[in-house]
Symmetry: C2
Subunit: 369 residues, 2 copies
Amino acid sequence: MMGPRFTDLVASLPATVPFVGPETQERARGEEFAARLGANENVFGPSPRAVAAMKRAASEVWKYGDPENHDLRAALAAHHGIPAENIVVGEGIDALLGYLVRMVVAPGDPVVTSEGAYPTFNFHVAGYGGELIKVPFKGDHEDPVALIEAALAHEPKLIYLANPDNPMGTWLPAPVIQATINAVPDGSLLVLDEAYLEFAPEDTAPPLDVGDERVIRFRTFSKAYGMAGARVGYGIAATPLIAAFNKVRNHFAMNRISQAGALEALADQRYLGQTIANVATARARIAGIAEQNGLSVVPSATNFVAIDCGADGDFARLVLAALVRRGIFVRMPWVAPQDRCIRISAGTEEDLDLFAAFLPEALAEAAGG
Amino acid sequence: MMGPRFTDLVASLPATVPFVGPETQERARGEEFAARLGANENVFGPSPRAVAAMKRAASEVWKYGDPENHDLRAALAAHHGIPAENIVVGEGIDALLGYLVRMVVAPGDPVVTSEGAYPTFNFHVAGYGGELIKVPFKGDHEDPVALIEAALAHEPKLIYLANPDNPMGTWLPAPVIQATINAVPDGSLLVLDEAYLEFAPEDTAPPLDVGDERVIRFRTFSKAYGMAGARVGYGIAATPLIAAFNKVRNHFAMNRISQAGALEALADQRYLGQTIANVATARARIAGIAEQNGLSVVPSATNFVAIDCGADGDFARLVLAALVRRGIFVRMPWVAPQDRCIRISAGTEEDLDLFAAFLPEALAEAAGG
């Protein structure tokens, strides 16, 4: 009995799981976190209209979801003023990134990203045998010039760029993004991850141009629409690329409840506006808490704020550990010099009261005081 | 602007979409189906406890689901009397089949299945470049002897066997399945799809043996638990194979609402018993309707019944088309001689009243009467 024979590629992949959820930490702690501020979730939640739609859909969940996501794609098309043929809906951006990588990355193919950028993208690239070429951040921003230089040198299948960025929350203005799209070498595809775009200032995103075969843009209902646990993301790109997703995607993967919820969430733009205001208030509060502790923050166009702990990564890791011990779930960037920061999601007033109460203790403990 | 460069494999895949959902047909018809009896969905739906849990979870959906599916795996482990380490939970069996095929099938690798068996498995095998070797059904059953003979001849990475079977609804007794497992050649893995098992007689499934590296067994909340649109499936296998899923799976793919619903659905075994009784009643009704029309049915251990229309595939396709035109959504097997049948999901009394009313017309129309 020798068991299954894995492919050489899969046999070579590490068995470690790089994704530790807050529930895992809670089980290890033996109690729930008092404030959940680490996963860039949006505590302000979905529109009440979306919640009502999901509750209605719960008793209809004996039906499979529509594999074409017709109604949601039509609504997104109307919302963005583009044809539905240029939109693919999937079970979160993570799943769509996986399908995209699978479609273009063969073992050994180069892919360009930034050191410290979104790790799930890297997980997919490694999972299909791609070779990751990483360029450093520049001043806490992803560096589009360095990304393009690396692309010209390596002719990668994909170039990953998040705007706004995770984990720093910084953003690049639309003209810089458009110039980056324009500089994509022939045969490369820019993966423009705009998961946090709704939180960002006007003129962060260049206009959608669905005829442009050099870029695919990803959006989600997980962040500004407050539906992370519902798994609804979408991609916008030229028709041939969107059509190709049908070759590999899991056609019946979409949750019927989520389809119904996303449709109503999109329709309730007034609630979205309230959420964006709530998040802006929370960001300002986080900046205020940082200032009260003699710290500064990195300006953010997302629903989280990176607080510069004022020293190196070892110090920030001590601060983070002290917060986690006190029941405040936070995370932090994982490469220097960004790892001088801890990353705090926009929380409720109560969440941030707790954070404000415990941060001084955590800083003192980290300083050995 | 040349666009992205697809891998040779993906470039070679057909662009056609083999999955047409009932909603697509409804849009083409311009009205909804009066009875939805084609997708093997379970109209009796989830337990009210599961519905209540999903409604509660809807307002908590701003949180990601637990990527480890800890609570659901623990509950499934207790239910089946096996360790949680032998269970992988995923976004439906379809997704888990995709991950499994990806883990073992490299381009050119042989895979054995039955002609006319579950097409999504074939979609995944083709999508990773595997070579499908198909053996015919035998007397409307999948033929385990032929599957093993093909496996001995071709040394496939995977051997697919559904018990009970889709699309015929037939089943093999546990001793035959155990003998098949025992005959799996070294280096092959039996994919035992037990999606419909809860509807089947006792002694359809051999006991779970989580030390046996020759088999992975798939179960789901889509069928007997009535939660197709929630996308929750699971696999049971030896620890090394279950652990390997972590190398490739989309760790945050599980819907938080679905996790909550599945947990309660599993806990409500009394409701499951009612559903199984309801389905048995509906199966008997379908057999009665067939008999009233001078037709016979294939004995079924699932929540659907194949009605033998008494002639060839062309005739059955005419019957099906006539039913669909009358607002009755049904499907049928796609290879001869099984395509002499149409396949009717266990419906409500009202659904089956409609079916009973329209079947004589459909048969007459197909006969040119």
